[in-house]
């Protein structure tokens, strides 16, 4: 009998506001420990939180982008627990009434369709500080620079049925968040972290006992951790045991998970309404204004690229991975409107491929969209062949010289002079009398041989269209 896997995800995403959720401290990453703190985010006696409305707007924008309901009145609650990096002894969060409820994310399926995955809620909360143990002997150091940085917690329905679906959901969400510009979502900096709730059951049966894999920040580890956990649970049940509800940590070095705390020690967070903050009220007009300012989302862009520019769904997907790449492509097409498909090929295969090999971001590209368009225009007007263009492009990645200067310097200008081409053709014909005779005797396939020879003789510079045309005429005799 088979097993069904049930996965629900909780994503913690740091909002990219300039200041923290409840005070004016900077959120800049990487500063000296405890330099970006104030009495409020240090939890000093008597200090009170004041909500950063930019964080509210960004959370609403995210909610709108997943077609969720925005609660015009939401509330903040205190989540109580003791930990050295939690200065107040509670975290301000939204428990009873979150600002965003009930949205969804569609992921592509293998058969080319889509699967809709529910999002239960998005609520706002503050991040805790960071405990540092490494290199310290029996003591821990606390850095509270991160304390109070605004977070969105995005909670999914338990709708994923495989690790692959979970990863697809996370990638869609990650891309969406970057598109919206609400978070850098840099996973290495902990700006996009995931807890995965995993359980298994026999199909048709109620949900099994779940475990929670905590705080993962790499797609690869998340996939490994889920797959490991699924096998672990199946093995326990098949051996006649029972899965214990607990939180588990993924050890990416040993490739195994281990228990953080068992149910007996499970926290009772004693949530209750945060008395220092009045209910959060937003007006429908404010929500509408945020909606009006929403950028085009990846799904819409992908579809538009397919219909407007005739791109394959693969190319459209590659080019809409980030808002930046989509914008880059659009400016490329604007500068070389003749052939959007050629634009897509060059950007997806040549440019992004090379940048990827060099470990560079699009923003670091030495070739601008305008400059690439110049090159594509030179292919379009037959100045150079597509093959020669690749050499030119290599040079463009290295130097800032103009496209024409590079073509000139490399001597790659295409020969489109019919006299010059005729001369080469006649030389080739003279050198290969047997083939000329064969062609004239009906072996049409020999045309390819002559094209090859002529191109070779011109060192690739002959205009292939003209070569074809003149060959047909001259070979007739």
């Amino acid at each position: 009998m088979s097993w069904e896997i049930v996965i629900g995800l909780e994503v913690h995403c740091q909002l990219n506001t300039d200041t923290k959720a409840f005070c004016g401290c900077s959120t800049q990453f990487g500063a000296e420990p405890n330099t970006q703190t104030c009495p409020v985010c240090l939890g000093m006696p008597g200090q009170l939180p004041v909500l950063n409305t930019v964080a509210v707007d960004k959370t609403i924008l995210t909610g709108l982008a997943i077609n969720a309901h925005i609660n015009l009145e939401s509330k903040f609650d205190r989540k109580n627990y003791f930990y050295p990096d939690l200065p107040k002894g509670y975290q301000i969060s939204q428990f009873a009434v979150p600002i965003v409820e009930g949205g969804y994310i569609d992921i592509p399926t293998k058969d080319g369709g889509e699967k809709r995955l529910g999002v239960t809620r998005i609520h706002m909360e503050e991040d805790a500080g960071k405990s540092m143990h490494e290199g310290l002997d029996a003591v821990s150091h606390i850095d509270l620079n991160r304390s109070g940085v605004p977070l969105m917690e995005i909670v999914s329905e338990p709708d994923m049925r495989s690790a692959d679906e979970a990863i697809a959901y996370l990638k869609q969400l990650h891309q969406l968040i970057r598109f919206l510009g609400v978070s850098g979502a840099d996973m290495e900096k902990g700006q996009f972290r995931c807890d995965a709730n995993v359980s298994v059951r026999r199909p048709g049966e109620p949900f099994g006992t779940r475990t929670e894999m905590k705080n993962m920040n790499s797609f690869r580890f998340i996939k490994q951790a889920i797959e490991f956990e699924v096998l672990r649970q199946i093995e326990i049940i098949e051996d006649g045991g029972e899965v214990v509800q607990e939180s588990r940590l993924w050890d990416s070095v040993k490739c195994e998970s281990r228990s953080m705390r068992s149910k007996e020690e499970a926290h009772d967070y004693r949530y209750f309404p945060e008395p220092d903050l009045p209910p959060l009220r937003v007006s429908q007009q404010e929500v509408d204004a945020i909606k009006a300012g929403m950028p085009e989302l990846p799904g819409q862009l992908r579809k538009r690229f397919e219909t407007e520019f005739g791109l394959s769904s693969y190319d459209a997907d590659v080019l809409t991975q980030t808002l930046e790449s989509a914008a880059w492509y659009e400016s490329l097409v604007a500068a070389h409107p003749a052939d959007p498909k050629r634009c897509a090929n060059w950007m997806a295969n040549e440019l992004l491929g090379r940048l990827n090999d060099a470990g560079k971001e699009l923003s670091e590209s030495p070739v601008s969209a305008a400059r690439l368009a110049e090159l594509l225009n030179r292919i379009g007007d037959n100045t150079i062949s597509g093959k020669a263009a690749k050499d030119v492009f290599d040079a463009m990645m290295e130097s800032a010289d103009s496209v024409d200067a590079i073509i000139e310097a490399k001597g790659l200008k295409q020969v489109s002079d019919s006299g010059a081409i005729d001369t080469i053709i006649l030389e080739v014909m003279a050198a290969n009398p047997a083939q000329v005779e064969g062609y004239r005797g009906g072996k049409d396939k020999l045309l390819g041989f002559f094209v090859g020879q002529v191109m070779k003789a011109s060192r690739g510079k002959a205009n292939p269209g003209m070569v074809n045309q003149r060959l047909l005429e001259l070979l007739k005799g």
Partner: protein, 489 residues
Amino acid sequence: MPFSSLSEIQSRLSSGETTAVEVAKLYLDRIASYNDELNAFVHIDPTHVLAQAEASDKYRSEHDARPLEGLPIAVKDIFCTQDGPTQCCSNILKDFHAPYDAEVITKLKEAGAVLVGKTNMDEFAMGSSTETSAFGVCRNPWDTERIPGGSSGGSAAAVAAALTPAALGTDTGGSIRQPASLTGITGLKPTYGRVSRRGIIAFASSLDQAGPMTRTVKDCAMITAAISGHDPRDATSVSDAPVIDWLSACESRDMKGLKIGKPKEYFVDGMDAEVRASVEAALKKCEELGAEIIDISLPNTEYAIAAYYVIAPSEASANLSRYDGVRFGHRCEDPEDLLDMYTRSRDEGFGSEVKRRILTGAFALSSGYYDAYYLKAQQVRTLIQQDFTAAFEQVDVIATPTSPITAFKLGEKTDDPLTMYLSDIFTIAVNLAGLPGLSQPCGFAQNLPVGLQWIGPAWREDTVLSAASAYEAATEWSRRSPAAFGGES
């Protein structure tokens, strides 16, 4: 002079009859003479007080005097001040020095006041007798064998014995009004949201409110005028609160036509008969002055204490979590591990009443009990608010006793927390509803002061002040002072 009101001192300062330095010296001398007996102050720095007074005299010589120019004001140890320690009378905050001033402290300084020191209080404001202070009990100047009330007992005793002409307190369930009543002075708890809570060490955030403790109603108005106003760094400080003309409210003392509600639930069996008689007499006086006494009912009053002792400890249990030995305050010696550090630091730092309330609050919020306790208490709170709203459709202001009893003996109730909690039976509902409340002296019972409480609709401190001023002008009670401390009672 020592038993003068702020406004009397103010007129002597502005006529040049005296200086801020002379005034400061007078009260510093009295503190030096009497504080050992009362333990009203827990921190005093005479050099710093005189420096402020000198600066004030200099300011007066160069500018127009500010609203509280040169006037000495003491503050409860719950207010964070950059000068001197802020310890909330708890061992867990022993020697804590706040790197900031509370917003009300900033406002007092800006108004030209001379801050005299920190007054004693129940630890973290939890108590009704100032017996839970980690720095020793405070005594009532009318009878030093008795408590001064709490939790702002130090401020009350200091004003009653004229160790300072005025002081700030905080009121979560009656902590300004009850000690004011038990020491024969006047105390005002403004409407919740009127005065910033920033920099006031939190007890129960949804109930705490700072206010003045003074000799006269007008003095309360002067101080409230100086400390109230919107604070953008306190999200519960109300930005569009109606502004009132505090001093004019005290001048308009006409009681004619004033409808005073007398809630039957506040005149119950079990209260001290003499207290009841004093308050009844006070209401009779108001009637003579032209007011109309209307019998009203606040039916949910009986549930106020129960609701309060769920909500306040719940909020306190979270507010006090930050005292964990990690970053400031007391840390136990040589902790074995993290849990040991938490438990021992907190065990050593907190007194038993604070522990009792943290446990009560943690229990009320714990899963499985939340609905039965916390949620229920919040529902009761709503009902109590509705009671007041309905009452204020009939009357302008409500008058009640402030406390059902006069000051009790030190130690008399310390072993019986439940009886102690009943001390605040008449003040708590006002906090649950967030309304303004004032206590003023209205008589004596067994030679101990009795307090009359005025309760107004939200933001109508003017009604409260005006009624209390009219009563004050027509009676002598606020001029009484304890003979043992040089008064003329």
